[in-house]
Every structure is written in structure tokens, then in C-alpha cells.
């Protein structure tokens, strides 16, 4: 069932991502405590510098897959390797993961600056270093002027940007994002997508991004993993034929429209291939 479709003229516009995979899943599956099968055994490799979106109908296990990669939950069987090793040596230089939730998940009692500082303090970063890194992270997301504000004083988009600043402050190598902009209006979402493209390139990030929006997936990703539900599995992969540095020009181009249409067809097929709740 798993196949990779090359779009356009069949070649990649950007050089194919190479090197040792950042995350490699082999025959990883997940059966929940209630006996429900969340994921069929799957194989997936995320290469350095890739922007991979996970998309599919609800129940396809895309969030489960992301949480497995984040080590928030454990696979029932199969193996996940991070930089060729186990999770114990994740967190050292060059091997940092950062997770961005669907909600900003900020501490309401702490100012923006204190929220962004949190992961550094938990990691025991020297205080002399903290201030400059927080300032840099806030500058990255355009919130420098809001360091002393409380989260409730910010708009939804600004809260999400605070959350992103908090994830960038640790200088992560891999950013894992679970529908981070799902609750935002389209205008704000497009703006944050633009920011994310820029931040990914500036910080040489590898990103795994869960989304419901195929437009967002095409705009952001170098590769889209389409999943099908019941049981959750990888249905097909789709490589976006466009260099990673993208702008508003891409969003309004016919290349964008064509690739959205192609992805839409795959998604429709994935939805048809998705079973009911019965266990196969």
C-alpha cells in the first residue's frame, strides 16, 4: 500500500535530503490499553532538513505517530531510533527535540519571558546565557515588545508564537508540531505558516507537522505522509515539488493549486480506504 509519488516532471526540485535519518521507525505499531489498534506496523524515516507533514482522516493515528516520535507514548512493538540510538541520548547538543502542542499550553501566571525561559531553566542552563537566548527567541517570532505581558493579554496567534519561541529557545534540531495552528483563523494561520518556513530554514530544523489542512501541508512540507484510518496506517507519500524557501508567491501560484489538487485526490482515496471501527 505504501508508495511514493513523484510529482511534476518526476524529479525533486530540491536536492533530496540525505544523511543518517533523524528518526527512524521500523515496524512500529500501537495498540491502546482498551485493545483498540491505533497504528498498523509502519516504517518511516525522517531525514535531516526535511519538513514532513502527517495528514489524513480523523482516527488515522497521525497524532499517535507524532507522540511516538516525541517519546510521549511507547510503541506496542517495533523500534524507534533517534539519530541511530535510543531516546536516552536525545537532548544533547545536535540531538534536541522540541514539541509544540495544539494549544499554546503556556503558564497563565507567568509572563511571556518567563514562559519562554522555562525549558532553559528546567535544563539548568546558566542564567547568564538565558537572557540573551530568550531575547533571541522572542525576536525570531516578533514578540520582543511583549516579554513583560501575561498570556491572557495576547491574541491567539501571539500566544501560539510564544509557544513556538519557547520551543525554539532550546535550539532544537527537530520540531514536532501537533496541529499547532488548527484553532487559528486562516489569516493568522497563513502568517504563522510563513514564519514557520522562515524559522525552519534559518534554524536548519527538521520538522514533523500534523495538520488537517492540505493547503497548509503543501505550503509547508517537503514531503507529505498521507495516512488512512481504521486501522491507522501510512497510505501514500507525496513529495512537494518546490524548493523549501516559500513565500506568498507560491501560495497563489498554479504550481501550488496543482499540487493541492493532486494531494486532495490522494486524501480522498485515503478516506475511501479507511475502514470503520471494526478490527480487521
Amino acid at each position: 500500500m505504501i508508495e511514493t509519488e513523484r510529482t511534476g516532471d518526476g524529479t525533486n526540485a530540491q536536492p533530496p535530503a540525505t544523511g543518517e535519518p533523524v528518526v527512524a521507525l521500523s515496524q512500529v505499531d500501537k495498540v491502546f490499553a482498551n485493545g483498540m489498534r491505533g497504528l498498523e506496523p509502519i516504517d518511516l524515516r525522517i531525514l535531516p532538513g526535511e519538513f514532513v507533514s502527517l495528514i489524513g482522516p480523523s482516527g488515522c493515528g497521525k497524532s499517535t505517530l507524532l507522540k511516538l516520535i516525541a517519546n510521549l507514548i511507547q510503541p506496542t512493538s517495533g523500534e524507534i531510533r533517534w539519530w541511530g540510538g535510543d531516546f536516552d541520548h536525545v537532548g544533547t547538543a545536535g540531538r534536541r527535540l522540541s514539541f509544540v502542542f495544539q494549544d499554546p499550553t503556556l503558564m497563565p501566571w507567568a509572563r511571556v519571558g518567563a514562559n519562554v525561559r522555562l525549558p532553559l531553566e528546567l535544563a539548568g542552563t546558566p542564567s547568564s546565557e538565558i537572557a540573551s537566548r530568550v531575547a533571541a527567541a522572542l525576536a525570531h517570532v516578533g514578540l520582543t515588545k511583549f516579554e513583560q505581558h501575561y498570556p491572557r493579554q495576547l491574541s491567539g496567534g501571539m500566544r501560539m508564537r510564544t509557544s513556538i519561541a519557547r520551543s525554539l529557545v532550546t535550539n532544537p534540531d527537530v520540531l514536532l508540531m501537533d496541529e499547532p495552528f488548527g484553532a487559528l483563523d486562516e489569516f493568522t494561520r497563513n502568517k504563522l505558516d510563513d514564519d514557520l518556513v522562515r524559522l525552519s530554514i534559518e534554524n536548519h530544523l527538521t520538522t514533523v507537522f500534523v495538520t488537517y489542512s492540505l493547503y497548509e501541508a503543501v505550503f509547508l512540507s517537503t514531503r507529505v505522509v498521507v495516512m488512512a484510518a481504521h486501522p491507522g496506517r501510512i497510505f501514500q507519500e507525496f513529495v512537494v515539488d518546490e524548493p523549501p524557501a516559500r513565500s506568498e508567491e507560491f501560495r497563489t501560484s498554479t504550481r501550488f493549486a496543482q499540487q493541492c489538487r493532486a494531494l486532495s485526490e490522494i486524501l480522498t482515496a485515503a478516506a475511501h480506504a479507511s475502514g470503520n471501527d471494526e478490527i480487521a
Partner: protein
Amino acid sequence: MKDNDATLRTVAPIVVGILVLALWEIGCRAGHVPTYLFPKPSEIATSLYTQWPVLLHALWSTLLVTIEAFVIAVVVGTLIAFVFVQSKLIEVSLFPYAVLAQVTPIVAVAPLIILLVKNTEISLTICATVIAIFPIISNTTIGLRTVDPGLLSYFRMNKASRLEILLRLRIPSALPYFLAGLRVASGLALIGAVVAEFVAGTGGRSAGLAYQILQAGFQLDIPLMFAALLLIAVTGVLLYLLMVALTKALLGNWHESAVAEER
């Protein structure tokens, strides 16, 4: 607009108070109501003035018991809540007894405590503590458990220790609940102190405001009864306002319950 609102909130109740007092005074005078049945506000004020040394001593006595009980309830109640959240087993084993202490009427228990503990002040403090402690335990326990699951995952993902999660996440999350508990407990500590004084007072062993009410009742000094009652009420209001101010100071910047409405 905001200033007007604040002024209104202060002035309106005062106007109502003055009107009620005026009607009361006029009504009593017009109806020739005898002082021993229902004293006029002016008589209560006179009593308050002339008996001030006695009343002040009684007030001090009641206040001391209330504050001691409140502080002990806060310290012990919070500690119990911390123990409760450490393990579900501890909580389910002990929580019913906390409820038992709460639902047993203090009037029924007070004679026993007063009988067992010879020192009046200590026995009164125990009675008041027993009632004041429950809202602290239950609110703080709920607060320590009510943690945003997303934030909890975030802390765990960043390899935060149990202590770091407690200090940086559970305690701030529990603060609004704890403060709501304080508000209730401050009132209950006063009620507990007064009730215990009544019980102890019937045995002739007390010195607080409730004891004054009891004694004044025996002597048919009704204005003194009212004056003592007034002091109890004022004490309760002041304690409440103190708790409101504390809540405002600690939560004013971030929690919905305390943030001043904008626009």
C-alpha cells in the same frame, strides 16, 4: 468610568446602611419599643462607647483564637493536602475522616474538647481549627490535582523532576483554589471561635465576644449584646476583605477570578 464604578460600589452600600439605621432609630422611637426588647442604634452606640474596655478585651480574645485557628488550619490543611496528592491510597483512606470532622456539628463536639483540654484558649482554638480546616484541605487537594495536562506533558518532556513540577506547576495551578479555600476558612474560623466560646461560656470559662453576649443576655443588657454582635460582624467582614485583598495581590495579573474587567 472605572472610577465611577468603584465609587458606586463604596457609596451605595453606605447609603443603604445609613437609611436602615435611620429607619430603625425612627421606628423604635415612634413605636416606643422598650430597650430590653429591641434597642435603638443610638443606645447600641452608647453601649459600645461606655463598655469599650470590656468589649475590646473580649474582641482581642476572640480575634486571637480566630487567628490562631486560621493559621493552624492553613498550615496543617495545606500539609494534609500535599500528603493527599502524593498518593491516591492515602487520599481515599483519610479523606472520609476529613469529611467526618467537617460534618459533625462543632456545637456537639465542643463540650468534649473543652472538657478534655483544660486550657480554655487551646480548647477554643482546637474547636475553631476543626471547622476551618476542611475547605483548605479540599480546595488545596483539588487545586494541586487540577493541572493543565498539556503543561504537565510539557514539563515531563523537558525531564522536570517531581519537585520542579510541584513548585513550578502544581503550586501555581493550585493557588486560585487555595485562596478560595482561605476565604471560606477565615469565616469559618471566626464562627468556630464564637461557637466554642458559647459552649465554654455556659461553663463560665471564656472571655470572648460570645461570652459577652451570653453574660449580657443574663443581665438583660440588650444594647451590649448588639454591640458585641456588631463587633463579631465587623471582624468577619475585615477578615473577608483581607482575604479578597490577598487574592487580588496574588492573582490580579493572571487569573480570571481576580483580573479587573477591561474596557
